[in-house]
Amino acid sequence: MNTERTCLGHARKAARWGALIVGLLPAVAGCYPYNSDKSTSDYDIAMTQFDSKADFFPAPPPNTTYFLPNTVEHIVPPGTTDTIPTTYDSLILSLVADNMDNRQYQRDSGLTIQPTTNFIVSVYVTSSTYYGYTYWGGWWGYGCYCYGGYYPYMDPYSFTTGTIFITMADQSQVDNANKTAPMIWGCAINGLMYSGQTSSRITNQINQCFNQSPYLGP
C-alpha cells in the first residue's frame, strides 16, 4: 500500500509539473506589445548619416557655398512610367534651401555648378507599393443550422510608401574620371503615402533631418 501511495503521489506530481510547463508554452513564442494608437504620421522616420572626417565649413560662414538644382529627381524602375506626383517638389526644394540658408550656407544663384562651389546638394524621391493579404479561417457558426457561419476568405491590402533622399557631396572630392562624388551627408525620410497632411509631414521630417545634424551648423 505504501508503495502504491508513493507511485501515485509521484505520478500526480509529474502531472502537475507537466501542466505547469504546458501552461507556459505560449510564452515560448514571445510577447511583442505595441502601441496600437498610431496615426499615419507616426510611421514617418528620418535618418541621417555623415562623414565624420568631412569639413562642413571649408570657408568661414557665410562664405561656404552650395549648389541646389531647381528640380527633384524622381527615381523609378527602368522602363516604367514616372507616376510620382510633383505636387510637393517645390515645397521640398524650398525647405532644403531654407534649412541650408539658416545654417549660414550661401546658395549659388546660377543654373550650373561653379568651380568655386563647395557642396552639391541633390534631392531624390522614390515610392514603392506593397501588396499582401490577411487570411481569415472559416467558422461553423451556431447550432444545427450553422447560424452566422462563414467560409474562409482572404482580405487583400496594399499600401504605398514614399522616400525622400537629400544628399550633400563635396565638390573638391569629385572624381570626374570615374564620375563619383563622395557623399558627406545624407538624409532619408520615409513614410506612408496618403492624401492628407503630406505637406506638414514633409516639412516636419525635412526640418528634423537638419535638426538632428548639429555638425551642419546651428
Binding site: 500526480r12 502537475r16 505547469l20 510564452a27 520615409n190
Partner: protein
C-alpha cells in the same frame, strides 16, 4: 508577427489554472518538506545595457520553479521565467555616424533557465538566500516606422536571490523575493535587471 499582451495574460491564466488543478489533486498525497513548486509574478527593473535600450519597469513577468530539499534547510532546483520589457518612444536615437527619428516600439523578451540552490534560515524556512546559474535567451526587437529589426542571442548568466516565505495554508506558502539577473555579454549585448517575485509555493 506581433503578439498582443493578451497572449501573456492567457499564459498566466493557463498556468494558474494548471497549478490549481495540480494542487487540488495532489493535496492528500503531499509529503511535507520534500519539494516546493513555486509560481511567481514578477516586476522587473532594467539596469545597464538593458536600461539603455528600454528604461521602463516591466510588469510582464512570470516564473516557475522547482526546489527539492536535499537537506532540511538546503534545496536545489530549476528556475524558468519570462520577463518582457517594452517601451514606446519617439526620441531621436544615435547610430554610428548618424541618427534616426521616429515612433519606436522597443521590446525585450528574456527567458532565463537556471539551475538553483537555496539555503533556508530557521525551522520554518522564513528567510532564504539562493543563487541560480544557467542560460538566458534574449529576443530583442525594434519597430521603427514601417520597419522591424530583431535579434536573438543566448547568454550565460547568474541570478542571486534573497527572499521570505510564510505558510498560509496546508503545504502552501506565500513567497516574496528579490532577484538580480546578470547575463554575460554575447554578440555585443549583455543583460542585467532586478526582479521582485511575488507568488506561492506548494
Amino acid at each position: 508577427m506581433r503578439m498582443l499582451g493578451s497572449k501573456f495574460l492567457r499564459s498566466i491564466a493557463a498556468t494558474a489554472m494548471a497549478l490549481a488543478i495540480g494542487m487540488a489533486a495532489d493535496r492528500a498525497m503531499a509529503e511535507e518538506g520534500d519539494h516546493w513548486a513555486v509560481l511567481t509574478y514578477q516586476i522587473s527593473f532594467p539596469e545597464g545595457d538593458t536600461n539603455d535600450f528600454i528604461d521602463a519597469t516591466s510588469f510582464r513577468g512570470i516564473g516557475i520553479e522547482g526546489r527539492w530539499f536535499v537537506r532540511p534547510n538546503i534545496s536545489v532546483g530549476m528556475d524558468l521565467h519570462w520577463n518582457v520589457f517594452f517601451k514606446s518612444t519617439n526620441n531621436t536615437t544615435s547610430i554610428p555616424n548618424g541618427a534616426v527619428s521616429g515612433e519606436q516600439d522597443r521590446t525585450l523578451n528574456i527567458f532565463p533557465l537556471l539551475a538553483t540552490a537555496h539555503y533556508y534560515f530557521g525551522p520554518n524556512k522564513t528567510f532564504y538566500v539562493g543563487v541560480g546559474a544557467g542560460a538566458y535567451y534574449l529576443s530583442q526587437q525594434l519597430d521603427i516606422g514601417l520597419y522591424t529589426f530583431s535579434d536573438t542571442s543566448w547568454h550565460f548568466g547568474l541570478a542571486p536571490e534573497i527572499g521570505i516565505s510564510h505558510e498560509i495554508g496546508y503545504h502552501t506558502r506565500a513567497v516574496l523575493a528579490l532577484q538580480y539577473n546578470y547575463a554575460f555579454k554575447a554578440e555585443d549585448t549583455k543583460i542585467d535587471y532586478w526582479a521582485i517575485k511575488i507568488g506561492v509555493a506548494y
